[in-house]
């Protein structure tokens, strides 16, 4: 067993556990995007960064790939970590504003601006689909191609793959190629739908909170608080 401190709490974990798992065991939330249970940790999206070490030697590492170390001091929500996460979300918003997953994460982290050139990519190269295809479907029909700004995901030579079984697993795990949440203006980089006080569920009472698809939207709760205050 390895003993370490996460946000001041002492925790003992099996050797080989990742910081992400250890933090989740203690109930500290760490946002993830490229991480997925059942797939090998990849560390591509950098959203799960945490700060380790102390003083001038403190550094940011991806918690999904970093194994627990004896005596390690981990901070999952220090100022530096939050700043880094917000920046990453801004960059993700700059490339894929149509993704509900990214928009939800941005809302949850109170991202208020997007200062970069707005693009409308359809891939953030998180590699979930590649790992899904290889590790769970054992097909390896798609993979990374090229490098740098020409990096893309697809089949060799863009041809129909012979090993692909059309399982759709790649699309199922993709955090980007999904329907945009209907509430927003497509040209706006930050949807903020979830932070919006008049969410769909409020306008259309036939959707109760059990059916709300905007989770983790808290619009209805905010509305309730408002009502209570007005009373």
């Amino acid at each position: 067993m390895v003993t370490l401190h996460i946000n001041g709490l002492q925790v003992s974990q099996e050797k080989g556990t990742t910081l992400l798992e250890a933090a989740q065991f203690l109930g500290f939330p760490i946002p993830t995007l490229c991480h997925m249970e059942g797939l090998t940790p990849y560390g591509a999206c950098r959203l799960c960064v945490v700060e380790i070490g102390e003083g001038p030697r403190a550094r940011l590492v991806t918690s999904c790939t970093y194994p627990v170390e004896e005596g390690l001091k981990v901070r999952t929500a220090s100022r530096r970590v939050i700043k880094a996460r917000k920046m990453i979300l801004e960059l993700l918003l700059a490339s894929c504003p149509q993704s509900k997953t990214i928009q939800d994460l941005a809302s949850a982290h109170d991202v208020k601006q997007q200062r970069f050139k707005q693009e409308h990519e359809d891939c953030i190269l998180c590699g979930r689909c590649v790992r899904m295809c290889e590790e769970q479907m054992v097909a390896k029909a798609i993979g990374f191609r090229g490098r740098g700004q020409d990096r893309s995901i697809g089949t060799p030579f863009d041809e129909k793959s012979e090993v692909c079984r059309l399982c759709g697993g790649c699309m199922f795990v993709c955090p980007v190629c999904e329907l945009r949440c209907t509430y927003t203006d497509p040209d706006k980089a930050i949807c903020g739908g979830c932070g919006n006080h008049s969410a769909v569920c409020l306008e259309k009472p036939q959707f109760d909170d059990m059916m709300c698809y905007m989770d983790p939207c808290v619009a209805c709760e905010i509305e309730n608080i408002k009502e209570i205050k007005e009373d």
């Binding site: 390896k140 029909a141 798609i142 993979g143 990374f144 089949t155 060799p156």
Partner: protein, 284 residues
Amino acid sequence: MMDRSEVLDILERHKEASGQLMSILESLQSKHGYLSQEAMELVAQETGRSLTDIYGVATFYKAFSLEPRGKHLISVCLGTACHVRGGPAIAEEISQQLNIEPGGTTPDREFTFETVNCLGACALGPVVVVDGHYFPKMTTSKVGEIIAKAKTGLDAVEIDTDKRVFPVEVSCAYCNHSLMDPHHMIDDQPGIRVTVSFEDKHGWFVLSSLYGSYKIESMNPIPRDMIMHMFCPHCHAELIGGAKCPECRAPMVPMIVRGGGVVQICARRGCKGHMLDLGGGTLE
């Protein structure tokens, strides 16, 4: 277009250890000048790797090309040092003279022109590399000359100017009889004459005695990549040692250098693998 057996031959040569994808692709690239789809599919099939992985590696490294390349490769350095010393103007000039954009190949498949980000020879800048030959301190006025030179072959040796080229006198490793043939001049020097046999052909074969020149003359035309057996014309012993070519693993042919030392040349036609041991260190 692609010869299946050639690819299989390369694969056979890399069979010894697994995980040699890079060297397999490198050999394929140097053989065909590019990586064709069929070649990559064949590699996938034979090595049991997935085509996705192979394609990923082939597209990741700039050294691999998926398009057919020209016979001659011209690379213009546009690294910082070369850039400030006029690299872009040279690239522009080459572009105009060959009438292709950087990364393109002329329609006659003679030249491929590319720009690179740094060749690590900043002190020589602006640098242009043609078929592995470095041209330092380039100017736009030299471009035409270099293109013309590349067409005739840059491997032709300039005996008077190149100090790396020097004549060697060799003899048979078995009977110590001189192999020099003063009646057969190559590069204005007496040639090295041996008897060569391959398949069912048998005949004389004369090599340039200049160390650094690869000129040969032969009675029978020798196909590229043929592994030849060389014999001493005097004692008829086969000139063969235990060494393997560092480039292609073919057997090496040893010859005694007059004044001490051994020179070994690769028995594979077209391979430039050679070793020179003058008693001291080894020169490859």
